[in-house]
């Protein structure tokens, strides 16, 4: 069996186990009346239709109209997802550009790194959602459309991993490579574009994968205080409010949100496959490559 087929099979296996655990737990709770078998201890999560709809009900809900006589729920959610993705994409591009720029600045100037790096790290401890309502007020004053505000929130989360990994990648060439460039009397710009940036590319892609997810989170979360009527964030909030009537719709919208995240990361992975030759791709777990992977296969298999 090819490694890919084996991995797909294992993945489907885990998925089946997870579905079985969900349904089994639900079945056990229904049978015992919500306690651990043979005890009087309550189960941590209730197992009624409200808390845990059947997995198949969630899938069926996607294919039914969202409201009486309206479009299919899947279609409604996909439209919302597209809307959210627009902000996320802009935030992703913006954030990646800022992150890359910071990486270049830091590798050029030790003073800039010492002055700004602590603040870059600290910026990620600021609960951005808390600032979003304030950004919305600003946007109102400046007559900026709200989805741009959402894109800014999204960029705020996306820039960080890109800045860190760009810096790491720009610093990755050996000291001898830098000395070689020095012996050619290369200018700092030539060193940057002919040595450091090409060396940093493999480091950039793992960061872009994280940034893709972060930008989706930023967009969904940013939509909440921005009171965007059209995005996934609002859809999730609405279905959460209507949870008691139709819990499977909330689960369905969360499923779609997850697929949007995976899809976006998938696009980045595809770009990496096209742009970075296999010998230069940074080792991904799962596909343990190279001599290390081989040795481990012998040890662990």
């Amino acid at each position: 069996m090819s490694p890919n087929a084996r991995r797909l099979l294992s993945f489907l296996g885990i998925l089946a186990v997870l579905v079985a655990v969900w349904e089994g737990y639900k079945w056990m709770g229904t049978a015992t009346g919500g306690v651990w078998p043979g005890t009087g201890i309550d189960l941590p999560v209730r197992t009624n239709e409200r808390s845990m709809p059947h997995t198949w009900d969630i899938i069926i809900a996607l294919l039914r109209p969202a409201r009486r006589g309206g479009d299919m729920l899947l279609l409604v959610l996909l439209k919302a997802a597209l809307f959210t993705w627009r902000s996320a994409l802009l935030g992703f591009v913006l954030g990646s550009a800022v992150g890359f720029g910071l990486g270049v600045l830091f590798v050029r100037s030790a003073l800039a790194e010492r002055g700004l790096m602590p603040h870059v790290v600290a910026s990620q401890t600021v609960p951005i959602l808390a600032i979003a309502p304030i950004l919305v007020v600003w946007a109102g004053r400046l007559n900026v459309t709200r989805w741009l505000v959402v894109a800014v929130v999204s960029a705020y989360l996306a820039f960080f991993p890109v800045a860190i990994n760009t810096l790491r990648g720009l610093r990755s060439p050996d000291a001898t490579a830098s000395e070689l460039m020095r012996s050619y009397a290369a200018t700092p710009n030539q060193v940057l574009w002919k040595l450091q940036v090409p060396a940093a590319l493999p480091y950039l892609f793992p960061a872009l994968k994280i940034a893709a997810t972060a930008s989706i989170i930023g967009a969904i979360v940013g939509e909440l205080p921005a009171s965007m009527p059209d995005g996934l964030g609002r859809a999730i909030l609405n279905f959460a409010a209507a949870f008691s009537a139709a819990p499977e719709k909330l689960f369905a919208s969360i499923l779609v949100a997850s697929l949007v995240g995976i899809g976006f990361v998938g696009i980045v992975v595809l770009a990496e496959r096209i742009l970075i030759p296999p010998s230069r791709r940074l080792e991904d777990v799962g596909e343990a490559a190279g001599p290390r992977g081989r040795a481990l296969k012998e040890v662990v298999a």
Binding site: R182, S183, Y184, A199
Partner: protein, 257 residues
Amino acid sequence: MSALSLRGVEKVFNPGSDQEVRAVHGVDLSVERGEFISVIGPSGCGKSTLLRLIGDLTPPSSGTVLVNGKTPAKARLDRDYGMVFQSATLLEWRRVQANVELPLEIMGMDAAERSRQAAAMLELVQLDRFANHYPWQLSGGMQQRVAIARALVFKPSILLMDEPFGALDEMTRERMQSELLRIRAETGTTVVFVTHSIPEAVFLSTRVVIMSPRPGTITEVVDIDLPEPRSDETREDQHFFELLTGVREGLRAVEDS
């Protein structure tokens, strides 16, 4: 004017601190154009530091270094140096041809001329068939030949080599030595070559410089009067063995002192 002249060169790392190291001490040396000088000594004797002082990778603490009558910094800006390190240091995202073109690119040569000169250089190191390969597709010896081609492609007046064959196996190493002599015969470049192998130093050089450690200083300079051109027969010559013994005794004197 000599190709290289060192007068009272000193290098002290971390001066004044408790980690002070006197790496190079009172070195005087004069190298004529077209010479092949090997620097040999036990590890930690400052031979690599000496090479880095010549190549303007680190400044001397005192004394003067002149390359073609210029300061090392000026010589570097004039692109007088070709450098080869123990690791080939090829850029992995560039094919062999593009790696050899790199210095020409930085010097602003136009694409057609660049490609012509790099191709000629690859022919010289007999790797023209591998121009479109990536570095990882080449053996260690081939990678080092690419590094030599890259170092010579812009016709530097002096070639600085820091244990370039140190990571190769003995057979490849001897082949590379003959190869290097052939290339030098065609280009006439002055070479300063750091090594810790006695046969390598003797086989390649016109003079062998022996250094002692702590502080690193020149204890002896051995003239190598083997006939040119040298070949595999040279390695079995009686005089070759006598010279080996001479250098070995020079090194032993250093280690005993």
